[in-house]
Each structure stands twice: as structure tokens, then as C-alpha cells.
């Protein structure tokens, strides 16, 4: 299964990394590298979005990598957003008690699927 990371810069302050495929033991290091490079290269960056819509699997090693990335973005004063999360990712975040850590309450209200206006409550529903 091929995993691909696609980086899109929407504004100088905002970058989105789309994760397609399995995010696991074998692929997480690359994502952490991609993210860490963005932190050092883009001085004006204020928001880093990880787009999980095409992600098929997340294992514990991947969570560890996301925690590391979160730590680095926080230190750099950048907000890390986990967006378009599939239900299985929300479930993993809830079981591990990390949902609140990765998804701030105001994010949870509107990032379930940015494309579907009017379903703002879906992300929050999953949070419970």
C-alpha cells in the first residue's frame, strides 16, 4: 500500500499536508520530517493542517509521530490541525485520550468536513 504526502500552501501562514494511505510505523517518520521542514522553512507559518481524508490506517507509532509533531509546532508557536478525520481516527484519538490534545474544542466544532457546510456538529458528535 503506497502512502503519499502532498503539501499544499494555501497562504504564507497556512500549509496543508494531505496524507493518502496508511500512516504507520513505516511511513510516519517521513511525515514528521515533512512537517518539521515546513516549520523551519516557512517563517510566516501559523497553521499546519494535516488532512486525513484519504488516510486508511493509523497505528500507535503514527500517533507517537503526531505527538512529536504537535510538540514541535507548539514550541514554534504554530497551530497543528488534524482535519477531515475519518471516524476510525477519531476513535483512536478517543481511546488513547488524545482527542482533546489534538482537537481543541473550537476546532472540533467545525473541522469534521470543511466541505460540508451545515454539518458543523458532526465533528463534535464524534468527540463524545
Amino acid at each position: 500500500m503506497n502512502t503519499a504526502f502532498t503539501t499544499t500552501t494555501t497562504a504564507p501562514q497556512s500549509v496543508s499536508v494531505r496524507i493518502a494511505g496508511d500512516l504507520d510505523y513505516e511511513t510516519i517518520d517521513e511525515l514528521v520530517d515533512v512537517g518539521s521542514q515546513l516549520l523551519t522553512q516557512q517563517n510566516e507559518l501559523s497553521d499546519l493542517h494535516l488532512d486525513f481524508r484519504e488516510t486508511t490506517f493509523v497505528d500507535s507509532a503514527a500517533l507517537s509521530g503526531l505527538l512529536l509533531l504537535h510538540r514541535r509546532t507548539t514550541q514554534a508557536g504554530i497551530e497543528l490541525h488534524l482535519v477531515r478525520r475519518p471516524p476510525f481516527l477519531d476513535r483512536v484519538l478517543q481511546v488513547t485520550g488524545l482527542f482533546g490534545h489534538f482537537v481543541p474544542a473550537d476546532d472540533a466544532a467545525n473541522d469534521g468536513d470543511p466541505n460540508s457546510v451545515g454539518q458543523a456538529s458532526s465533528g463534535e458528535a464524534r468527540a463524545r
Binding site: 500507535s60 507509532a61 507517537s64 505527538l67 512529536l68 481511546v95 488513547t96 485520550g97 488524545l98 490534545h101
Partner: protein, 509 residues
Amino acid sequence: MLPTAEPGIPLESAIDWLSPAHLRLVARSSAPGRRESVNAGGPVAGRKFEAHHATLPSGDVAWSLVEDAGHVLREAQHALTREQERAEFLLEASSVLMASLNVDRCREATALLAARDLADAAVVVAPASRGRRMPVFYCDHAGTLEQRSVDADPASVTGLSEALHGVPPMPSRWIDAATLPDWLIPTGFPRPVGSVLIIPLPGHGVSAGALVLLRHAEEGEFTDGEEVLAGLFAARAGAALSAARLYAEQAAITRTLMRDLLPPALHPVHGVEFAGAYRASEDYEVVGGDFYDVHPAADPDGETLVVLGDVCGKGLEAAMLTGKIRNTLQALTPLAADHQAVLELLNGAMLSTEHARFATLVLASVANRDGSVTVRLTSAGHLPPLIVRNGGRVEQADTGGTLVGALPDIEARSFETTLAPGETCVLYTDGITEARGGPLGDHMFGEQRLASALAECAGVPAAAVVERVMMLATQWVGQQDDIAVVAITAPRRTHLTAVDGHTPGRFTT
């Protein structure tokens, strides 16, 4: 024809071997008719020529040079055969030496090959591993192997201690074979030893030992070509020996770690059944990131602490963290009345700034209260345990919390329940539910499938529940992560009290 011969240049400098022959010929007899035949031959511009003389009518001598093509060809063929034999020998040596990762077999093979093709006898001196005793392997030309453990000072043999330190060998002719100590000569080797060659067996950074080649007195000394071949052979043997040694060291480390890191076999404690099973991921080492432990209560009324968890990552690195967590939790067992406190202490001990390696785990405090068993469960970021009720209902323990080792502050919510006789609480790792397989090979086993399987395990002993779960997971998967399961089962009462209408299934089927 003679590249250096130009008008005015003396013959001696143009072709140095011809003029002495000419002078000899002329000197033998001044009378041209009585001259004897003089044979001459030598190289001209790298080719070999024979020189034939003829006396001209004038009395002068004419030399005709004829290239000795046959000789050149014979030499070339000979050299080619020799090279082919060398290449064949080295090729065979490589494949024989690489066939075994056992250090002693490798040393034997080195002595055997060297004694057969390089000398009349060969001795492999291995560096002393502990203390002064050096393992020494002997082999004679007939292939008879002998091994001894020798307590001797290598410095007493010229060239040996140098070879053992990887210093390039000195030429054989510099070593007086008569000074060799007895321990370096195979039993039955006829004395005196004719000549000896001592070469290092180079390893990866450290010497893998020294190879000593012995020749009978009637054989000649080692030629330069033979010393080169022996050096090439020693390089291969040294590489094979150090690979074998590295492997042996790795295997020893893994064995030592595994002894400590593999989860224990479980036994009933104070009347409560405990059973556990663990299998490491096939792709990695035998030890992995899943673990469980049971810390029995000191007295029958006390709480037994069960721990089951999963460290992120795989292999030896994960196993090391597993060991650390298990030790910490064992030390914290006396505080297990407060799961939250135990988890906070563990979390603090694991926090690191360099990485975000974490663990998810479940704590279960189990106490036997007159046949029914109370279980207090706390999940720290782990999948909630499942409880198999009599009658086949499967409940998910309502516990949740933050994983440990990643965040400075953690939360945890405990769940308490009572197991009636025959009821089971199952703790498991995500290796089971995330096992990919099934008819199409890429479906996860999933929590639902596990719950359905457990529903059929109502009233079944703990060991059988564990066996069943492991079997299903194994059947399901193509590729899989580490998996661990622990089952806690309340003791069944006697048959008479069990058949009371509340415990159907087990005794009625």
C-alpha cells in the same frame, strides 16, 4: 626489433645477455672453423628469444634471434591454470566459510581449507575471550581436526601476537621454524618444521585471530605468490569469522533480553483464574511492544494487580521500554489501590523530551470475595476490556484515559464490576483487533468480531478463552502486529450451586 639499439650504442646496453654469450663464443677459440656451439637466450622487450649463431665466410659471427613462442605459451597456460586454481580455491573457501554462523565451525573450516590447499598443516589461533586461554584449532593435510584450549603467551612466538593484533604478516623466511613452541604444532606433525607463515585473520575492527601455516622440512619455503594467496584466503576467513562472532554476540544479547522480557506464564491466584498469551509480530524480533504481568496479592483478601499494555513501535527498542514500564509498575504495585496515582507516577517516569514514545495500558485490580470476583479496571489510552457474562452477553468496560509517557498531564476514569462465577474479563491489545486478513486479506479483525467470538465463550475457563482468541486472530491474519491477551475468570462454584437458573449454558449444554 631491438628498441634500444641505435647506431653508436654498445651492444651490451642494447641487449645485455647477448654480448656475454658472444664474447664467450669468440673467446673459446680464435679459429672460426673450430668454434663450439654456445647457447644463449633471454628477454627482449618483454618477450623471450633464443639466439643462434652462425659464422659468416668473413669470419664474423651472425646471431639470429628466434622468439620462443612455445615457451611463452606454456608459461601463460601454466599461469592461467594456477590463477584458475586460486580463484576456485578462494570461491570454495568463501562458500564453505559463509555457510556457517557458528564461530567454532568457521574456525574448523578455516583450518581445514588452509591445511588442504595452502600448507601441510594449519593452525587457527583465536583471541582469548576471557582470561588467557586461547582456543586453538589444528588440522593436518589429511584433514584431521583437533581443538585445544591453550594457556600461552602469544608474544613468545615471533609474529603471532602481531598477527593477533591485525599487523600485516612478515615474510615466512624471517621466521625460524625451529623456534615454534610445541603447542603451535599439530600432534603427529613430523619435526622439524620446515617453514612457517603466520598471517592475521582480519575482522571488523577487531582481529578474528591468526592463521599459522606449517610446511614439512622437505618442502620449500612459501613463495611470494603463496603468501599472497594465503593473505587473500585469510581475509575471507577473517570476514566469515567476525560475522559469525557478531551473530553469536547478537544472539546472546537477544537471548538474555528475551528471558527477561517475555511475558510470564500465568497461574490461578487465590482462587481466581488468570490466563495469558503473547505472540510477537512475525516481521520483527521475538520480543515486542506488547506485555502483561500479574502481581499477586500478598493475602487471599487482597487485590491482585493485572497489567496489560502496548508500547508504540516494534522490536528491541519497544521491548526495552516495555521492560522499563513493567519494572516501574511492579514497584508501584503497593499503590495499586489508586490506579490514577499509579498511572501518574508511571507517566512522570516515562516523560522524555527527545521522543514521544508512549504506552497504552490497562490496570486491573482483582479481588476474590467469596466466589464472586470484583474487578477494578482503568484504561490509560488502551482499548477497554471486554466482559463475558454468563449467557453470552459481552460488555465493554466503561473506562478511558490518556495514554502514558507523552503528555505531562493525564486523566483516567476507572470502572468497577463484579464477575459472577464463570464470568470472564478479557484484556487485549490492538494487535488482535487491527490484525488484517479475512477473505480479502485487508479487513481488520475488529472489535465487533472479537466481541461476537467472545460471546460464544460464556462459562469457558480462562485458558480456553485465551486459546480461542489467539486461534481466531491467527486464522484471520496475513500480516500482524504483536498480540497479547489476558483473561480473568471468576471461579465456578460446585455443580449444585451452579445449576440455579442464573447460569445457563455451561452445565446445560
